[in-house]
Symmetry: C2
Subunit: 365 residues, 2 copies
């Protein structure tokens, strides 16, 4: 059978430790299921900067572009806090997103039953939570020009960023949200600040038109992004799919992740458009958590978000739905058994290491 | 004694009902304490649009500029959802903020002991919460140019907003945050997205410099705004004063408000710079909640946020600290007695109307 090529970018901090557990699963699937994964590995973020002064090298970018899927760990840490803006660790991730045209960022926020009590929110508010944030990832204020600091003289500088959205960018991310909603509870809530932003006015207009033209079977609602943030905190279960822009998506998906009380558990997928000939989408999978430099290298990080990201990879890049389901069920089973890394530890559970968690999930797979 | 001039802009929805309760307090203070308030009233938002096709008239703007303080209710509602962008209800509020140069928006998020159980967050997470969000209010993406929708032809449009911050704008809002921190727990956390935005890089740089030059006695920390949103949900009591830009402040202050479970309780103050001669600041006080059109006109809205906004007015515009303290204590006392409007109703409490709540607070004052 054809090779399935994976390009691994473990990155900084706890990235490599978490990625090591995914490697075990890949090896197992190759050995026992003839899954035919080929893997190659590169550098991104601070570790790439240390090696060659760039947040990602051109050679690694080429490998990322050529792979069927990229698995990404995390980037950043205090060590690189004062490197120049253009080569800061995040620049590697942003370049991957932009050059691979990964415009659709899927961030599920689910509450694992075994962890329903570990949130700062009341148990009834988050029990059974299952929402999906669809965030636009290649536009908006992240990439708009001008983006600069101008020296005005007299000790004054001016910092400028530009929020830009074109119709086609809004239409294609809305379409992804509507399509995914059809596989779920069939509801989309679109969030912007049309009362203040012209890009919000356009966003609202285009989402409404896309809905009317091609997805009128899906239930659509609109909410101002600030009100949306409040409603996420008040009663998140009112939502199914939320579609929003790059910056609001950054804020709202992090808040949604924190609601579940299990930041170390949440995966994400960043997808491009289907290729006109092959139908294949470029894709990158990464945990929502960051590089957590404070606990890096101790073998205590939670590898679940990284493993769950690989499950998303199986599902979206390789259509290996049964395997993805089994891997996600294995995660839930291990949690049900009371096995916990330190970040999700609670009374009556058994505290285990990163490697033990990876092994336990593999054993349940 | 000199007259203290108040300009009242009740606005739309529940604004007028809430403002009526503040009128009672003003009348009482004039009668019993010779407070010498003079009041005038104008139109803003949808009601101003209905009257004369503008979200606020020039005549009312002049009165707002001339008053010692403006009391603002709320604007907006479905009735005006499709009026032109330039005259939408929010435009009245934004013009007030911009023309009065109200750059400093103070949004306290406190948890009233009597309501510690009404949040979606666990009681121990929010009990005793007392944080202050200092939001920049006249800059950033709210007002930067270009701000427009361009027709690109071929069915494509482009929506553009511009985030702009100059050194002096960041310095003056940081100074307000540091000064207020000195009257509290002496800690400021500054939030931006310097890993993505150049305005965030400048924000971080200027706040750091202002701190070093003039406020090095205050403890300063920095957080990325997305992480800040998460930390607000996880453990809000880690913060004292948060300083952030206009758009992040909009999101973060609404989330902070929702944490307390008492959106109908939270006031805000928007202040200008002290006048070079008189030392007086232009000021506008408004509840954080919106116009709540669904319950407007029924006499059931919670007037506490509006009354608490008037308490902030007493404190910041008239230095009537004893009166402000007494009014805030009256609010807490009424809650302790178990009196509740519908929005904060819970078992064992007595449900009362807007007017009854106003009367009860006045009786406790
Ligand atoms: C690391 C950073 C550039 C990134 C972002 O802001 O998009 C992160 O916060 C995320 O949400 O993936
Ligand atoms: C009404 C709206 C323009 C306003 C804002 O976005 O600033 C509101 O949300 C607020 O926070 O005061």
């Amino acid at each position: 059978m054809a090779t399935r090529s994976l390009f691994l970018l473990p990155g900084d901090g706890i990235g490599p430790e978490a990625m090591a557990e995914v490697r075990k699963i890949i090896a197992h699937m190759n050995d026992k299921e003839a899954a035919g994964f080929s893997t190659d590995e590169g550098l991104v973020g601070g570790s790439a900067y240390d090696a060659h002064g760039q947040a990602i090298s051109d050679a690694d970018m080429e490998k990322a572009m050529a792979a069927d899927a990229v698995l990404f760990g995390a980037v950043g840490g205090p060590k690189w806090d004062s490197v120049p803006y253009e080569v800061r660790p995040e620049a590697g991730l942003l370049r991957l997103r932009k050059d691979m045209e990964l415009f659709a960022n899927l961030r599920p926020a689910i509450c694992y039953p075994a962890l329903a009590n570990s949130s700062s929110l009341k148990q009834d508010v988050i029990e059974g939570l299952d929402i999906l944030i669809v965030r636009e990832l290649t536009g908006g204020v992240y990439f708009g020009e001008p983006k600069e600091i101008i020296d005005l003289g007299n000790g004054q500088k001016r910092g400028i960023d530009t929020q830009v959205y074109d119709t086609y960018e809004i239409d294609r991310i809305a379409a992804v949200a509507f399509e995914l909603a059809r596989t779920r509870r069939n509801e989309v809530c679109s969030m912007e600040k049309r009362n203040v932003m012209k890009s919000g006015v356009l966003w609202n207009e285009v989402v409404t038109a896309t809905h009317k033209d091609r997805f009128s079977d899906v239930k659509l609602s609109h909410m101002l992004a600030d009100a949306g943030g409040m409603q996420l905190v008040r009663w998140p279960k009112q939502f199914d799919v939320i579609v929003t822009d790059n910056l609001f998506g950054d804020m709202l998906s992090d808040i949604a992740a924190m609601l579940t009380g299990s930041l170390g558990m949440l995966p994400s997928a960043s997808l491009g458009a289907p290729d006109a000939n092959t139908g294949k989408r470029k894709a990158l999978y990464e945990p929502v958590h960051g590089s957590a430099p404070d606990i890096a290298g101790q073998g205590i990080a939670n590898p679940i978000a990284m493993i769950a990201s690989f499950a998303m990879c199986l599902r979206y890049s390789f259509n290996m739905v049964a395997e993805a389901d089994r891997l996600e069920a294995a995660i839930a089973a291990v949690l049900d058994k009371g096995l916990r890394t330190g970040d999700i530890m609670s009374d009556g559970c058994r505290k285990i290491t990163t490697a033990e968690m990876g092994d336990a999930i593999l054993a349940s797979y």
